[in-house]
């Protein structure tokens, strides 16, 4: 399976007569985009705003971010089983508007959407301060249930991202990234698998694999290229800091890093997708099954990533224990909830086998964010967003908030450079 990503660098975004990509600028026909999204009758009002890196703009409340792309050749369509026809993705050519993001904005339940600051101290914590963002502000019709609202927003985001991506179908890429698990001649290198767990607790904590609700899957083997070509879609509203947006799935940093070192330091043998469930039986079944697959494909080492926190800590620890019990070495990536003073125990569960852990930061740490000139969306929900608290909004329009509320600040795929250290 060979996937070519045709990278088209986007350095600016503007409204224009047509939706095109020219000389690094993404032009967006606003009317056309709104009309496309309004096809879903569950959405009553739709608006589009733009935000560029460095601008004094705060986007809140954000649900998902999607990287605009288009499939140029190869089987399958983007986001198969959701908005694309079924078909295996991960081969052929996909063009990518790198440096842009489609951001879905609007209050669903208020608690678990996040914020993006395009400049100031908050910007450093979110990768989406570095993308030229097309923000879709979406309002539901009256009385729409939250799960239907979530679905409408999810589909709107995916459709809009694909719509923007189509503008670059015939554009010559600035560079080509090629992903192929070529045979490795040095068979003494260690065989490494990646176990990616997807949040699947239900009640708006869902993720989709080829359109299948991840809580209904048994752990599966998947080629890394499929993950990078739209097989996984985020549908969840868990805390902003450590939910994996669809953008994160498309750009999974563990997969990229294992590819980079494939054939040099290790042999990347595949990805096992598992889920994160709410009942003990489900946790046992999934960790049994996933660890068995890791053993079955002959791994000597495995990287395990978590999504969310608390309850999923248990799934991750079970997985770690069972994989280690097969004699396979593990490294976990997690964030921490050590309290605002950093003095509390950070995880809800622990096993002695978890002796190699990457910490991507304490989500409870509080940050002061200055007021911004422009708000895309609505600042009011900040007090009830996970990470916010009563009085977190200052009178000048700034806020003091846990980094938990910032999109992607403690991404447990290891996307960022934040770490928590013991002092």
């Amino acid at each position: 399976m060979r996937l070519e990503l045709g990278i088209i660098k986007i350095e600016d975004v503007q409204f224009g007569e047509e939706t095109t990509v020219r000389d690094g600028t993404l032009s967006v026909n606003k009317k056309e985009l709104i009309a496309l999204v309004r096809q879903d009758e569950r959405l009553s009002e739709v608006d589009v705003e733009l935000a560029r890196p460095g601008e004094e703009v705060r986007i809140v409340p954000v649900k998902d971010v999607i990287e605009p792309r288009v499939k140029v050749s190869g089987s399958g369509e983007l986001f198969p089983g959701i908005i694309g026809k079924m078909g295996t993705v991960g081969s052929g050519r996909t063009n990518v508007l790198r440096g842009s993001g489609l951001v879905t904005v609007g209050r669903i339940i208020g608690y678990q959407e996040g914020l993006i600051d395009m400049s100031g101290p908050g910007a450093e914590y979110s990768p989406f301060s570095q993308t030229n963002n097309v923000a879709l502000i979406l309002h539901p019709v009256d009385g729409l249930a939250p799960h239907a609202h979530e679905e409408a927003v999810r589909l709107a985001g995916l459709r809009a991202a694909v719509h923007l991506g189509k503008a670059c179908k015939d554009v010559a890429p600035d560079e080509l990234e090629v992903y192929e698990l070529s045979p490795v001649t040095d068979t003494t290198l260690p065989r490494v698998a990646y176990v990616q767990t997807l949040l699947s607790e239900g009640l708006l904590h869902d993720t989709y694999l080829y359109g299948v609700d991840a809580k209904k899957i048994l752990p599966s083997l998947i080629h890394p290229n499929e993950v990078m070509d739209g097989a996984i879609v985020s549908g969840n509203c868990v805390s902003a800091c450590d939910k994996h947006t669809t953008y994160h799935h498309l750009n999974n940093p563990v997969i990229k890093e294992l590819y980079r070192r494939h054939g040099k330091d290790l042999i990347f043998i595949g990805v096992v997708i598992s889920n994160l469930n709410v009942t003990l039986a489900d946790k046992e079944r999934s960790s049994d099954y996933a660890s068995k697959l890791v053993k079955f494909i002959g791994a000597e080492g495995a990287i395990i990533t978590e999504e969310g926190f608390g309850n999923p800590d248990t799934d991750m620890m079970m997985l770690c224990k069972k994989v280690e019990e097969y004699g396979i070495k593990t490294v976990l990536i997690t964030d921490e909830y050590a309290g605002r003073d950093g003095g509390s125990q950070s995880l809800a569960d622990a096993v002695p086998q978890a002796d190699a852990v990457i910490s991507v930061g304490n989500a409870n740490e509080v940050i002061a964010l200055p007021p911004m000139k422009r708000i895309i969306g609505d600042l009011k929900p900040a007090e009830v967003i996970a990470g916010g608290f009563v009085g977190c909004l200052t009178t000048d329009g700034g806020l003091s908030i846990e980094i938990q509320a910032i999109m992607g600040s403690t991404c447990q795929l290891g996307f960022g450079k934040l770490a928590a250290r013991g002092y």
Binding site: Y111, P146, P253, A338, G339, S344, A354, A356, G422
Partner: protein, 351 residues
């Protein structure tokens, strides 16, 4: 212009201050000008920029018999010296002295807002009590370690005096305080993970970024034998509160719990109750709050005599990203209240 001198006050017990042994262990805090006992070599190691302006001395027994009051009584005589740094010990493996050093440092740091440091042996019981709030430098188990400890303390005191940034415990040589601090590092989490895995696979040394905590295991209470006459209470981390969330419990990272009266309430209805929990889709909980806080079921058990009585109050917080420290604190207070009200059993519901 003369260079600014940084001012230090040093804490010693009666023994190291040369006042006497056990027979003098009851003396209350007293001040001596300048450096005394181990303070003299410490002053030498500190150099000219930093001066030990006074030494506060207190008897070990005096301190141990009323730790909090003794710690307070150390603050007052120290304050007029306007120190930049407060240093205590080293206490080595002396338990009472270690606690005095820790408690004095803690009180000074809180009241005077200046940096503090002490030194002791890893098995000194004071280490676990004070390591979170006080920098503690490791020493040998006995006074034989004095010569190697003094320069380490001096280096640390100088850093604190000059208000230099204190780095990681392994770089600076203090016992980790268990405080997690965020910082941006040079490499992404994914890059660090692959590096760590390769080291682990090759059998090379590596350092985990989060050592696993040891969990406090709570043994279950014995069963309630006479259920039919027992008072049973409801406690939830599922966020069920009166409509409008009057105490404004946070949707995540709760900083408080609340107590509500349910005497005469037989059913939790959407017009009077809701959830304020931010970790799940609230629709089903808001439609029928009994789904999280099973008041209706408890009333039925009360009516048919399965339980004696449902306690008139319930306790609620939000268990969503709430730190274990906060949860332990809430649990302790709630348990005390329930015990005082002769509640014999609790149904704890989570989400």
């Amino acid at each position: 212009m003369a260079k600014k001198k940084y001012r230090v006050v040093h804490y010693l017990n009666q023994f190291y201050a040369g006042i006497g042994g056990e027979e003098k262990a009851n003396i209350p805090p007293m001040i001596k000008e300048g450096a005394v006992g181990p303070g003299r070599p410490l002053q030498q190691a500190l150099g000219e920029e930093v001066e030990i302006v006074a030494t506060v001395v207190c008897g070990d027994s005096y301190f141990a018999e009323n730790i909090e009051a003794a710690a307070e009584s150390v603050v007052e005589p120290v304050s007029p010296y306007k120190p930049d740094v407060f240093v205590a010990g080293p206490a080595f493996n002396a338990g009472r002295y270690g606690i005095a050093c820790g408690a004095a440092c803690s009180a000074i740091s809180k009241k005077l807002g200046i940096p503090v440091v002490t030194a002791m042996y890893k098995e000194n019981p004071a280490l676990e009590l004070y390591r979170k709030e006080v920098y503690i430098i490791p020493t040998a188990g006995s006074v034989r370690g004095m010569a190697e400890t003094i320069p380490k303390m001096a280096t640390f005191v100088r850093k604190l005096g000059l208000r230099q940034k204190i780095g990681l415990p392994e770089e600076e040589g203090y016992f980790p305080r268990g405080i997690r601090v965020n910082q941006f590092v040079g490499r992404t989490g994914a890059e660090r993970a692959v590096d760590m895995l390769l080291s682990k696979l090759r059998g090379e040394p590596f350092q985990t970024e989060y050592p696993m905590p040891t969990f406090e295991r709570i043994p279950p209470s014995p069963v309630v034998k006479e259920l039919h006459s027992a008072t049973i209470a409801l406690v939830t981390t599922g966020g069920i509160v009166p409509l409008g969330n009057p105490d404004r419990i946070e949707a995540a990272s709760a900083s408080k719990f609340a107590e509500y009266n349910i005497a005469g309430v037989y059913d939790l209805t959407p017009d009077a109750y809701q959830t304020c929990h931010g970790g799940y889709d609230p629709v089903y909980a808001n439609n029928d709050p009994d789904r999280i806080l099973p008041l209706d079921a408890m009333r039925a058990l009360e009516k048919d005599g399965t339980i004696g009585k449902l306690y008139d109050r319930y306790y609620v917080t939000v268990g969503n990203a709430t730190s274990v420290d906060n949860a332990q604190r809430f649990g302790k207070v709630i348990a005390e209240k329930l015990k005082a009200a002769d509640v014999e059993g609790v149904i704890l519901t989570s989400t």
